[in-house]
């Protein structure tokens, strides 16, 4: 059960890819470019664009914008670092301590 998340996996023409985690860090990352006849079965294809002739069976196949505030460990793998008020802010609270107001952001990954 190979785990090829965050990397560009190498496939061969006609390969059946069964039960792999192919999660990519950024939406619409192409995988398997130039390879034909791929069959993806029971895979995690989050953020993957597969070749046009590939067959996708029983896979997660959506695109999600990941927030580095939620996934700081993934910056080392190539996830771009978000700014404080990034697009992933889902909620904002302001609290006042000793007369000073502090803004606390709650972040969420976003299906795109």
């Amino acid at each position: 059960m190979p785990n090829a998340r965050f990397t560009q996996p190498e496939f061969t023409n006609g390969q059946t890819v069964d039960g792999w985690n192919l999660t990519q860090l950024q939406p619409h990352t192409a995988i398997g470019e130039g390879v034909s006849g791929l069959i993806f079965r029971n895979c995690n294809l989050l953020n993957c664009d597969v070749p046009a002739d590939a067959v996708v069976e029983s896979c997660l196949h959506v695109h999600k914008s990941f927030c580095s505030h939620l996934h700081p460990d993934w910056v080392a793998h190539g996830l771009p670092e978000c700014v404080e008020n990034c697009e992933h802010v889902a909620d904002t609270d302001e609290i006042t301590i000793d007369g000073e107001t502090v803004t606390i952001n709650t972040y969420a990954d976003e299906v795109v």
Binding site: M1, N3, F6, G19, N21, N42, D73
Partner: protein, 335 residues
């Protein structure tokens, strides 16, 4: 008490839940109906547009509500009922705060949700028992468990979390008991535990090939007879609020960390870690790759840091040990 109830998405009868012929076609109707002590049998695959929400009913400690997957003939033989998120549902199974108390889930497969496969809202979480369930290929955690009740009331037996885009098992508040569970190929940690409150207990578990730590973020933790292999960072990372006590016995902690980024056992905060009879090999963090910053070294002579892993076929998750395996068995004297 009524029931049992039946769910079969392919059924075409009266849809009153009274038999396989007249089964409900959605689990949602069943979980909204079942009361304490009742059983829901389900078979086949339900394709979801939204999560199955358990937000109505509770069982009791003496009379839990049980959801049990069956094979095509309606027999209970370990065949799982599949909840397919179909890249559309945010979760496959969602449990509301202070609901879903004293529920058992047996033989359930949660796959392809855009978020977590199984998600507990922040709340109590008494008596949630999971047996032979799977969360796989989901877009966040496999299992996201914000239980806020005391230790030992969420128990997973023979469950798996595979190829999810976050942690395999995530329980940040209170500890969970894992027995014979497997977390493989997830994009986060294999098991991510409670840093503050109660014990995380992992017995006879496998954490393999996850991007982060094999077992992460635990404070009080008992990790015993587990295989923790080829995870991207530490084998076990203790980072609970100090001080804490942790125990690691008779584990095989191998091949974790790459490029000096992981330790066999990494203690990040001040605690008291008892560990013995573990087999460490090829962890990358220090010279011999075994442990880091553990102040209490009693019985370290019982650990092995060289020899042969001896897995039958680790690449394909067969961690049965061959006769060549170092520290294949241990005899621990109890005086």
């Amino acid at each position: 008490m009524a029931g049992p109830y039946y769910v079969d998405p392919a059924a075409s009868g009266a849809a009153d839940g009274s038999s396989w012929t007249d089964a409900w076609t959605t689990l949602q109707t069943a979980v909204d109906t079942a009361a304490a002590g009742e059983i829901i049998y389900c078979r086949g695959t339900q394709v979801l547009a939204a999560a199955i929400d358990i937000d109505q009913n509770n069982g009791t400690s003496a009379a839990p509500i049980k959801v049990i997957g069956c094979n095509a003939s309606g027999d209970v033989d370990g065949t799982r009922f599949t909840l397919n998120g179909n890249s559309a549902a945010a979760n496959c199974l969602s449990i509301a705060a202070s609901k879903g108390e004293y529920w058992w889930f047996v033989n359930i497969d949660c796959t392809s949700a855009t978020g977590a496969g199984i998600a507990f809202a922040t709340g109590a979480g008494h008596g949630r028992i999971w047996i032979n369930c799977i969360a796989q290929s989901c877009g966040s955690y496999g299992w996201e468990m914000y239980t806020t009740t005391s230790n030992g009331t969420v128990v997973l037996v023979g469950c798996q979390s595979l190829n999810n885009s976050g942690d395999g098992f995530y329980s940040p508040y209170y500890g969970v008991i894992y027995f014979a569970c497997k977390s493989v190929g997830n994009s986060g940690h294999g098991f991510d535990g409670a840093r503050v409150a109660n014990w995380t207990i992992a017995l006879n578990c496998v954490s393999h090939g996850n991007t982060g730590d094999g077992i992460a973020g635990v404070g009080k933790a008992l990790v015993c007879n587990c295989v923790i292999d080829e995870n991207g960072s530490d084998g076990i990372e203790y980072s609970g609020a100090s001080p804490y006590i942790a125990v690691a016995l008779a584990n095989r902690i191998t091949g974790n960390g790459t490029g000096g980024t992981g330790y066999g056992i990494n203690e990040k905060n001040t605690g008291l870690v008892f560990y013995g009879w573990n087999f460490f090999l090829n962890n990358d963090g220090v010279t011999n790759g075994d442990c880091h910053a553990i102040p209490y070294h009693a019985d370290t002579d019982t650990n092995e840091t060289s020899g042969t892993e001896g897995y039958t076929d680790g690449d394909n998750d067969d961690f049965n040990l061959t006769s060549a395996a170092t520290l294949r068995s241990v005899a621990i004297e109890i005086d």
